[in-house]
Amino acid sequence: MAVIDVREAIRSALKEEMLRDPDVFILGEEVAEYDGAYKITKGLLQEFGDRRVIDTPISEAGFSGLAIGAAMAGLRPVVEFMSFNFSFVSFDQIVSNAAKIQYMTGGLFHVPIVFRGPNGAGPRVSCQHSHCVAALYSHFPGLKVVAPYTGADHKGLLKSAIRCNSPVLFLEHELEYNTKWEVPDHDFLVPIGKGQILKEGKDLTIVSFSRPLRFCLEAHEHFKKKGITIEVVDLRTIRPLDIGIVLESLKKTHRLLIVEEGHKTNGVGAEIIAQVAKLGIHLLDAPVGRVSQRETPLPYAANLEALCLPSTERIIDEIKTLLRL
C-alpha cells in the first residue's frame, strides 16, 4: 500500500499495462516530450520510447480516427484528450466509428481503445472548457463510460478499461489530480459496471460520480452531526449503469438525490430516475432531487461559477428540502 496522488495512480496503471502488453501505446497532444499537459504521462516517454508514447498534432479527429483504425488492426491505443471538451472535434470518429464497428462488421473487427482525460469543469476555465460529457457519450450503445473518484479506482478501472475489448471513455477530473489516496501496490483490477458505497446511511441516498462526490461526502459529515445519515453511492461506471446498487440503497433510505457536474436536462440523473421509476417506484417516499450544473454555459466570474456548479451548500440545501427539515 502506498499513499499517492491520482496522477500517480493513473500513471502506474498506464505503466503496468504497457509493460504487460506490448500492443498498448499512448498518443495525444503533449503526452511525450512535454510530460503531459497535466503531467499524467510524465516519465513514460523515457521508459517506453517514442514508438509507444506519441505526441500528436492538434488534430483530434485525425488522431482519434487513427487510433480507432489501429485498434481495429489489433493494437490497444490509449488516447489522451487534453480535455474531454476537445473530444467534440472527434465526436464523429467516436460515435460513428468506434461505437459502431464491432456491431456493423458482424463481430469481424473490435475496437479495444481507451479515450482518457480530464472531464467536467476545471478552475475558472469558462464556457467552452467546462462540459461534463458523461451523459452525452453514455447515450450510445457500443461505448463504455467510466468515471472513478478514489485513487485506487483510477488505477484499477484504467487497467480494466485498457484490457476491455470495447471502446471505453475514461473520465478524470483536473481538480482531483492532486488528491492523495492509499492505493494498493499489487496488480489489481476494478470491474467496469459496478458501483460502491462510500458511506452508509439510512435517511437518504446520494448517487454521484467523480469530483462532486467530494461535496457529497462533506454533506454526509454535516448531517451526521445532526443524527441524520446520508448514504453516498459512487457509481464509478456510467455505462453500463449499476442500477442495482441504487435500488439496494433505496430499500433502506427511500429517498434519492443525484449529484452530477453535467447539466440537469437529459443528464445521468435523468437516466437513473427513469430506471428507478420503472424498477423501484414503490421504494420512493419523497420526490427525487438533482443537483447539477445550472442551465447556462459556465461563467468565468468566481461568484457566478460557484453558484453554477454542484457544491456542498447546494447539496445540503437540497437534502434539507427532501427531508423536510
Binding site: D285, A286, R324
Partner: protein, 404 residues
C-alpha cells in the same frame, strides 16, 4: 409504389436494345417514370401492353439474350398465373320458412319463463360530497397496503402535503375505519356474482315453481292452545322419553288424515283426476345444508308417538347424511313443515305435488300455536280444510288422545 399503369412501350416485339435504352414508361401515383434497360437484350414478347394496370412484381414482358432463344416454358407459366380462377359456388344461406312462427321455447310444462334482467353494477363508487383522492408517496402506499391501513383523510407531512411513510404509522387500520367513519367500501354498487345452482337446488326450484304456478293454492289458518301439549311432553321428558312437539303434531296429523281422507289426497295432472291415497304417508320437511328434503313416514296413523319419534330421528339423520333412498323421500300423501323452532309465528307453505295439501306449523308463543293449511282447491274445498283443522285442533288440545 405497389401498382402502376404502363403508359407506353418504347421498344417493339422482336426489337433488340442496349444497356441504358428506354424500354417503357410507367404512371405511378406520383408521376410518369422511365424504365431504362439494365443490360443488353431483345424484347421478344409484350405481356402487358399500354394502359395495363400492373402490380409490382407482375411479369410484363419477355426478354432474351439471343434472337431465337426458346421461351415457351415461361409463357406457359405466365398463362397459368393469368388464367381466370374458377368461381367457387356462391355460399347461400338457407331461406327461413316464411311462416316459421315463433314457437315459444317450452319449459317442460309449456310456458315461457320471462327473463328479468339484472341491473349493471355502477362504474364508480359515488363519493361522499367533498371526498378527495389521497396523495401519498409510492412507498407510503405500499406500506399502507401491507399494513392494512386507510390513508383517507390523513394529513401528509411530505412535499406539498403528500402522505409519507412516517405518516402511515398514524393511519388507522382498515377494520376500525369500516365501523367508525363514513368511508365507502371498495365494492361498486350493484356488483354481483352469479352462482350456479346445485342439482338439489335445481330440483327444488323446478318443483316448487311448478307447484306454485299450476296448483290453485288456498290457505286456512287455525290457532291451537298448546298448554296441555306442553304438560304432556314435559311429563314424558321427566320420565326419560324425549319427544318433540313435532312428534305430537305428526301423530295428530296422521290421526286427522285418517278421519279426513279428502285431505289425504292428491291431484293427477296427467289424467286430470283426484288421487285418493289409501295410506297415510306423511312427508316431513327437513332442512339440510344443500336445501330441503322430505323423508316419508309411512303408515303414520299406525305408529305411536314413541315409534314416530324414533323413526323421524332416524330419517332426519339419514337426510342430513345424504343417505336417503329414493323410496324414502319420493311419494307421500301429505306434507308437514315446521318452522316453529325458529320462533316463526306462521307461514304459507307451498304444496308438494302430486299431494293436495301441506301443513305449515308456527312456534308456540305464549301457549298459542298457529297452523296454516295450504290446499289444492281442485281437490279440497274450504269446508274440508276447515273440518280437518278442527279435528287437528281437537287432538292437539287433548294430547292424551295422541298417546293411545
Amino acid at each position: 409504389m405497389t401498382e402502376g399503369e404502363i403508359v407506353e412501350w418504347k421498344v417493339n416485339e422482336g426489337q433488340p436494345y442496349k444497356n441504358g435504352d428506354l424500354l417503357f414508361t410507367v404512371q405511378t401515383d406520383k408521376s410518369v417514370v422511365e424504365f431504362n434497360a439494365l443490360d443488353d437484350g431483345i424484347l421478344r414478347k409484350i405481356l402487358k401492353g399500354a394502359h395495363s394496370v400492373c402490380k409490382v412484381g407482375d411479369p410484363i414482358g419477355v426478354v432474351t439474350d439471343e434472337v431465337n432463344e426458346d421461351f415457351s416454358d415461361l409463357l406457359k407459366e405466365w398463362e397459368k398465373l393469368e388464367a381466370p380462377k374458377p368461381q367457387s359456388a356462391p355460399q347461400t344461406t338457407p331461406l327461413q320458412p316464411a311462416n316459421a312462427a315463433q314457437t315459444p321455447v317450452a319449459t317442460s310444462v309449456g310456458f315461457v319463463e320471462p327473463v328479468f334482467a339484472i341491473a349493471s353494477p355502477l362504474e364508480t363508487i359515488p363519493t361522499l360530497a367533498g371526498g378527495k383522492e389521497v396523495l401519498a408517496t409510492p412507498y407510503a402506499k405500499q406500506l399502507a397496503k401491507e399494513q392494512g391501513r386507510d390513508l383517507k383523510g390523513l394529513p401528509g407531512s411530505g412535499y406539498q402535503g403528500i402522505v409519507t411513510a412516517k405518516d402511515v404509522e398514524k393511519a388507522p387500520s382498515k377494520a376500525y375505519q369500516k365501523l367508525k367513519s363514513k368511508t365507502f367500501p371498495e365494492e361498486k354498487p350493484g356488483s354481483y356474482t352469479l352462482i350456479p345452482m346445485s342439482p338439489m337446488r335445481k330440483a327444488i326450484a323446478k318443483r316448487l315453481q311448478q307447484s306454485k304456478q299450476f296448483i290453485p293454492h288456498f290457505y286456512v289458518t287455525h290457532v291451537v292452545n298448546t298448554l296441555e301439549l306442553g304438560k304432556i311432553r314435559q311429563q314424558l321428558k321427566d320420565y326419560g322419553i324425549d319427544c318433540t312437539i313435532n312428534d305430537f303434531i305428526l301423530r295428530a296429523v296422521a290421526l286427522s288424515l285418517r278421519d279426513h281422507p279428502e285431505v289425504n289426497s292428491g291431484f293427477d295432472s296427467k289424467t286430470q283426476s283426484i288421487i285418493r291415497f289409501h295410506t297415510v304417508d306423511v312427508s316431513v320437511a327437513v332442512s339440510i345444508p344443500e336445501g330441503l328434503i322430505t323423508p316419508i313416514v309411512r303408515l303414520a296413523d299406525f305408529k305411536g308417538i314413541e315409534e314416530l319419534s324414533k323413526e323421524v330421528k332416524f330419517l332426519v339423520k339419514k337426510a342430513k347424511e345424504g343417505t336417503l333412498k329414493p323410496e324414502e323421500y319420493q311419494g307421500g300423501s301429505f306434507t308437514l313443515s315446521n318452522l316453529g323452532m325458529f320462533g316463526i309465528d306462521s307461514f304459507m307453505p307451498i304444496i308438494n305435488p302430486p299431494q293436495a295439501a301441506i301443513l305449515g306449523v308456527g312456534g308456540s308463543i305464549e301457549g298459542q300455536m298457529k297452523l296454516t293449511l295450504a290446499a289444492d282447491h281442485r281437490v279440497v274445498d274450504g269446508a274440508d280444510a276447515a273440518r280437518f283443522l278442527a279435528t287437528l285442533k281437537k287432538f292437539l288440545e287433548s294430547p292424551t288422545l295422541l298417546l293411545l
